[in-house]
């Protein structure tokens, strides 16, 4: 059983993600955020369970649905919000927007809008970390997140093969929400035995069906211990459910392309509600107040920050 400290920490981070994203959805109509947003509402437990087990100098690589992992890994929240607003103080000076959040200092590799594209890049980073460990003696680990759609790209299997071949320090995580934009898994996969497919590369796999944040964290803790000892890559498939539309701020269940009963089951299983109930009321309210305050501060920062100057158009085309 988890102690109150860890439970409170997981609760707070999941709540922070949820509240930031709901606030993004709330203000989206004002057009202050002129960027496509792919929200993770309902999927927070994966980012939080995964990242809580990592050390600060471990690395995560992301999909374009990247807010949750960025926040969970400790990405700068002020810079995130400012980036969404297109401001000069954003994590990429307003040049990236929501789909390409990046915070190298805190171990968040830049996200890509092209599905699957970051998987091999993360694999290359893991190759570098494997080499670095031969000098430093410390094995940093890379976590490559992708969606179920990402596993349909050729580079996913190419990366899995290469990582297994060279026993790279990388954990591949599939956030399986069974949707690629609006197309369900059944129309895309010949069979849903993803872990079985990956296992044939000689990789240890884990399948977590209920998005239980503690199970995800425990699985990660064990996986990290093995990888730091040189076990080679590990694959984790986490089932989850996207509460909102593919891109944008709305609940689109009225569009009738998915099952509302299934939605209700996942809402009943909401890890934020669950962990909230596990905390004493005083602690829970204090955490909620802290989250609310952070939210106000980052929004104010984003609003008050300047837009980039015109000459910024031409900076960083080439590195010096």
């Amino acid at each position: 059983m988890y102690d109150q400290i860890i439970t409170a920490r997981l609760y707070k981070t999941m709540l922070l993600i949820r509240q930031i994203e709901l606030r993004i959805a709330e203000i989206y109509y004002t057009d202050a955020i002129k960027s496509p947003v792919h929200l993770s509402v309902g999927q927070e437990s994966i980012a939080v369970g995964v990242c809580d087990a990592l050390e600060k100098d471990d690395i995560v690589s992301n999909t374009y649905r990247c807010h949750a992992t960025y926040i969970a890994k400790g990405g700068n929240l002020f810079e995130m919000m400012a980036e969404l607003y297109g401001k000069a103080t954003g994590c990429a000076g307003g040049k990236a927007g929501s789909m390409h959040l990046v915070d190298i200092k805190n171990g968040v590799m830049g996200a890509s809008a092209v599905v699957g594209t970051t998987i091999p890049v993360a694999t290359g980073y893991a190759l570098a970390m494997q080499n670095e460990a031969k000098i430093t003696g410390k094995q940093r680990v890379v976590v490559a997140l992708c969606g179920d759609g990402g596993t349909e790209e050729g580079c996913f299997y190419e990366s899995i093969n290469f990582a297994a071949l060279r026993k790279l320090p990388i954990i591949f995580i599939c956030e399986n929400n069974r949707l690629a934009i609006h197309t369900p898994l059944e129309k895309r996969w010949a069979t849903d035995q993803l872990c079985e497919r990956i296992a044939t590369f000689g990789i240890k796999t884990h399948k977590i069906d209920d998005a239980d944040v503690f199970t995800i964290r425990d699985t990660m803790v064990n996986a990290l211990a093995d990888i730091r000892k040189g076990s080679g890559p590990i694959f984790i498939e986490c089932a989850t459910y996207r509460w909102l539309e593919h891109v944008g701020p709305l609940d689109d269940h009225k569009d009738d392309y998915r099952n509302t009963k299934e939605y209700q089951t996942w809402k009943d299983n909401d890890q934020i509600l669950r962990l909230g109930k596990m905390l004493d009321e005083k602690t829970r309210i204090q955490l909620e107040d802290e989250v609310a305050l952070t939210l106000q501060q980052i929004e104010k920062f984003a609003e008050e920050s300047p837009y980039p100057a015109a000459e910024e158009l031409y900076t960083h085309v080439y590195a010096s």
């Binding site: 994590c91 990236a96 990046v102 915070d103 890049v121 990366s159 960083h316 080439y318 590195a319």
Partner: protein, 367 residues
């Protein structure tokens, strides 16, 4: 052997010692020197550590630097390009090797969407110091998918540098510059240049990216040629000399960023620009160079020079020799075009003599 670079006084002054070596050996020296200098440099790709070592360009490197720094990969061109980018972002300096340029079409997503964009899109938080080595094939039936020269596709994308050295000296110096550059560099070699010899300094040196080279000075016409076409242009110059026409031959060396200043200085002198690309013409390097030349003349309010371009026939490259010969410009067709440009349309026709055997005739497959 086909020597293409003559010792110039400038080089003799600059470099204490040179010797005549092949293009392919010059490349190998660049890898060896840079890997010894910087432990972050590594080289990988299919077959780089086999007994043939990419036509000899990587022979002995694994023995010297170990399996962590020189290693073969699964084909997986797409993912291996991503791996190179990831390692570069993590502070390494990968050299990713392809034995034909045609295979780079499998890498386009990573090169265009990640390598080219990361530094800009992540606002300078990351750099991608990556060299992608690739080889244009020609002759002995290389055909439609072993002969493509796709440099213009890469020139089109901001964030990439594109270099195509045409002699041993520039191959080594450009490779050293490319490895030390903090950007993704597409390094285009040519299979027929591998055996050509040039004077190469024994000491390490850089040939700066973004600087063209005037190979021979002339007053009557400027011929700008790319990659293997530089050799044909130099032969064309010899033909032209026999009829009293003095051509200035320029090798841009780097296709992006492009050194238009050097080209324009020459064009202002000669008033005529013939661009000979080692590629198709449409939307190609020739389109870019001729357009820039016109724009720069307009900006300076000077008269537009006489312009022409040559390149691959607008077809897929055929394998059979009689058709393949027609696919490429050659020394004679370049000379005739330059002759027409300098003598005017009404000038009598001229047929240069048939060239002696060249590296094109000498090349035998099967590889």
């Amino acid at each position: 052997m086909f020597t293409q670079v003559e010792k110039t006084p400038a080089q003799t002054e600059q470099m204490s010692e040179t010797r005549l070596i092949r293009y392919v050996d010059a490349l190998r020296e660049a890898f060896e020197e840079e890997m010894a200098r910087d432990p972050k440099v590594f080289l990988f790709g299919l077959d780089v550590d086999d007994h043939k070592g990419i036509q000899g360009s990587t022979i002995g490197l694994q023995e010297k630097f170990g399996k962590d720094r020189v290693f073969c990969t699964p084909l997986s061109e797409d993912a291996m390009t991503g791996v190179a980018i990831g390692a570069a972002i993590a502070g390494y300096r990968p050299i990713h090797v392809h034995i034909r340029m045609d295979f780079m079409l499998l890498c386009m997503n990573q090169l265009v969407n990640m390598a080219a964009k990361s530094h800009y899109m992540y606002n300078g938080q990351v750099k991608v110091p990556l060299v992608v080595r690739t080889m244009i094939g020609r002759s002995w039936g290389q055909g439609g998918q072993h002969s493509q020269a796709l440099h213009s596709m890469f020139m089109h994308v901001p964030g990439l540098k594109v270099v195509a050295p045409a002699n041993a000296h520039d191959a080594k110096g450009c490779m050293i510059s490319a490895i030390r550059d903090n950007n993704p560099v597409i390094f285009i070699e040519h299979r027929l240049l591998y055996s050509t010899e040039g004077y190469v300094p024994t000491k390490s040196y850089e040939v700066p990216l973004g600087k063209a080279r005037i190979l021979t000075e002339g007053t009557d016409i400027t011929i700008v040629a790319v990659s293997h076409m530089v050799m044909e242009a130099l032969r064309a110059k010899k033909h032209l000399e026999s009829v009293g026409i003095n051509a200035e031959v320029i090798d841009p060396i780097t296709l992006w960023p492009l050194d238009m200043e050097t080209i324009m200085q020459s064009v202002k002198k000669t008033g005529k620009l013939l661009m000979v690309d080692n590629a198709w013409l449409t939307c190609g390097a020739s389109s870019e160079i001729l357009t820039r030349a016109m724009e720069m003349c307009q900006e300076e309010d000077i008269s537009i020079p006489s312009l022409a371009r040559m390149g691959f026939a607008p077809t897929t490259c055929p394998t059979t020799k009689p058709l393949e010969n027609l696919f490429y410009p050659d020394a004679r067709s370049i000379a005739v075009k330059a002759y027409q440009m300098t003598q005017g349309k009404k000038a009598k026709t001229w047929e240069p003599p048939v060239s002696a055997n060249t590296e094109i005739d000498a090349f035998k497959g099967p590889f």
